[in-house]
């Protein structure tokens, strides 16, 4: 596909900001921090079928466990062509398919599981990975988890299981922005070395030190794909900046779940000029 990923990135940031501003709710911080990652996945890395089918036979599947970053998920799905971009204006409104947190319940193409209550996405992804193995389907499962979300115990059941059962058709990425609602992850509940933890559980660990650098993300994801099917699940520790691309939203956890006001929106949009056309 001949596309300018930087233009898409800027446009997706605008979508995120405008969506949360419009309803004065939603989660811009984590969404902006994972914009480059989701664009890399959906526009370059994953083999996908835009004619959405729940079973996703012979295509790569993505699961978002930290469902609160729905704005970036919705924007990337729409910009990729799963549903009309104009539908982004219904985000979090009554009778919308774009619920506050992603759901299959309203039949939005691209969504395969509800998420929002944290800590459940990894188990679901493992199930989908096992389903692919049973179906002799060679395609892959990609999953994104928040770092704060790792405080949920179910993840560690899943992490233990995936290594023990050699679930090696899955690439899990941790959005390591070091922040959660109440403050930094180190202040709320320090998790120690995730590298050592995952390694001791038997996972192959990769890192993206510049988690908002598209080239670095593509490089690591491409490498990750090349080392699947080798008896080990793969995790990528991706160091991101919450609120990336909007100067006043960066270096703070303040924008985890707060929408910008009119003036702040104007300032943020000025930093991200329109590229593909606003919805």
């Amino acid at each position: 596909m001949n596309i300018n990923l930087n233009n898409i990135t800027t446009q997706v940031r605008r979508d995120i900001l405008r969506m949360v501003h419009q309803v004065n709710s939603g989660h811009p911080g984590g969404s902006l921090g994972c914009t480059e990652f989701l664009i890399a996945l959906y526009f370059k890395i994953m083999k996908i079928n835009l004619e959405f089918d729940m079973d996703g036979d012979k295509e790569d599947l993505f699961f978002l466990s930290n469902g609160h970053i729905s704005p970036v998920f919705y924007s990337v799905l729409a910009r990729r062509g799963y549903f009309p971009v104009s539908e982004l204006k219904t985000f979090r409104k009554l009778n919308s398919r774009l619920q506050g947190h992603p759901t299959t319940h309203e039949g939005l193409p691209g969504i395969r599981i509800a998420s929002g209550s944290l800590g459940q996405g990894l188990s679901v992804s493992i199930g989908a990975a096992l389903s692919k193995k049973l179906n002799k389907d060679e395609s892959l499962i990609f999953t994104l988890l928040g770092d704060g979300e790792l405080q949920e115990g179910q993840n560690w059941e899943a992490i233990m299981f995936a290594a023990a059962k050699k679930v090696d058709n899955i690439i899990v990425t941790i959005d390591l922005n070091g922040k959660q609602i109440d403050g930094s992850t180190d202040d709320v509940l320090p998790m120690g070395s995730l590298n050592e933890k995952f390694q001791s559980f038997g996972w192959k660990v990769l890192k993206i030190k510049e988690g908002n650098n598209l080239e670095k993300i593509l490089e690591t994801l491409t490498h990750a794909k090349s080392i699947t099917k080798k008896s080990k699940p793969i995790v990528i520790l991706m160091y991101t900046e919450m609120g990336n691309g909007v100067d006043f939203m960066m270096n703070t956890h303040a924008w985890h779940g707060v929408a910008p006001n009119d003036e702040q929106l104007k300032n943020a949009l000025n930093q991200n000029p329109e590229t593909l056309g606003d919805y």
Binding site: D55, S123, L134, F161
Partner: protein
């Protein structure tokens, strides 16, 4: 009407295990998951015959529910197996979000339900699971009464697309339903016709209701007995047709009366035909250690309780 006789004592969980074994042979999409209770759930035969379709998750029920939800993506039909307590209360949010709200085709199969689990005591005896599951939008709730019905239900729910909670028990109890009877989700079964009182029973209480019916006949009370295996969706038609004739009803279940079958029936009666109802159920309490028979007697979940209740309720018509 057919007179039901005990064809020999068998546990309902073996009905599940044998049903699952049959499904393993006939449906390649069926996958079984277990959280370290393969023997208790009678899943060994399925495991032996289909090692690639049996997933041992270890003592990690939350992960099991999530994996089951994920397996449906790709067309698998996962059956999870553990005790009722660990199939519901322990994993409520996983079921709520990843299975019910996501409308995943998972069959949550729960053994050792109720107080007949016996000696292990209240930590393992869940009496709240029907309530927990029936409150979830879109969840089908089935509670079977004997070996034959459990086997038939296990096979039938694989054909139905959507989340199902299948509840059964630990002890050996009379096996009395016809093994050839087709299991129909959402359809109550008229076991005995009668005119004075309707007894609607589910699970292990169905046999107790039949026994009570015989005794009541001797004292001149004609009981109509309905076997409700599907608590949700509830067959309100069979219940309303019966009370139109009898004018009063007793519900009987191995569950807390908060959230159980009785409450679902009360709603149907209140909205359509408010006749007197007595509820045979546990009275907002936890269970305790003891043999199944001792516990059923102490908590008033047997034929004697139903007989006493029937003699009382017909005076309130």
């Amino acid at each position: 009407m057919i007179k039901f006789t005990d064809l020999g004592k068998k546990d309902t969980r073996s009905g599940f295990g044998d049903g699952l074994t049959e499904l393993g042979r006939t449906n390649n999409d069926v996958v079984a998951l277990c959280a370290d209770l393969t023997g208790s759930l009678k899943m060994n035969e399925f495991k032996k015959e289909n090692p690639e379709r049996f997933i041992q998750v270890g003592i990690a029920e939350a992960n099991m529910m999530g994996i089951a939800a994920g397996l449906t993506i790709g067309g698998k039909i996962p059956f999870t197996g553990t005790f009722a307590n660990f199939s519901t209360g322990r994993v409520y949010d996983q079921i709520r979000q990843s299975i019910a709200y996501s409308n995943k085709n998972v069959k949550i199969c729960a053994s050792h339900a109720g107080i007949t689990l016996g000696e292990d005591g209240a930590t393992h005896q869940i009496l709240e699971d029907i309530g927990l599951m029936k409150m979830l939008p879109g969840m089908t709730v089935v509670n079977t009464c004997d070996y034959n019905q459990t086997k038939a239900a296990t096979i039938e729910i694989a054909k139905y697309k959507g989340p199902v909670y299948l509840r059964f028990g630990r002890p050996k109890v009379p096996n009395f339903t016809n093994e050839k009877e087709k299991f129909q989700i959402g359809k109550g079964i008229l076991m005995q016709e009668g005119s004075d009182v309707t007894i609607v029973a589910t699970g292990h209480l169905v046999w107790q209701a039949l026994k009570a019916g015989e005794e009541l006949k001797k004292i001149g009370i004609s009981a109509e007995i309905i076997n409700i295996h599907t608590i949700k969706p509830l067959d309100s038609k069979i219940i309303l047709n019966s009370v139109a004739k009898t004018g009063c009803l007793i519900s009987a279940e191995e569950h807390n009366y908060y959230g159980g079958l009785g409450e679902s029936i009360s709603r149907v009666l209140a909205q359509n035909n408010p006749v007197p109802q007595n509820l045979i159920a546990t009275n907002d309490t936890f269970g305790e250690s003891g043999t199944p028979e001792q516990l059923m007697e102490k908590y008033g979940l047997n034929s004697q309780s139903i007989i006493k209740s029937a003699s009382e309720i017909i005076k309130r018509k």
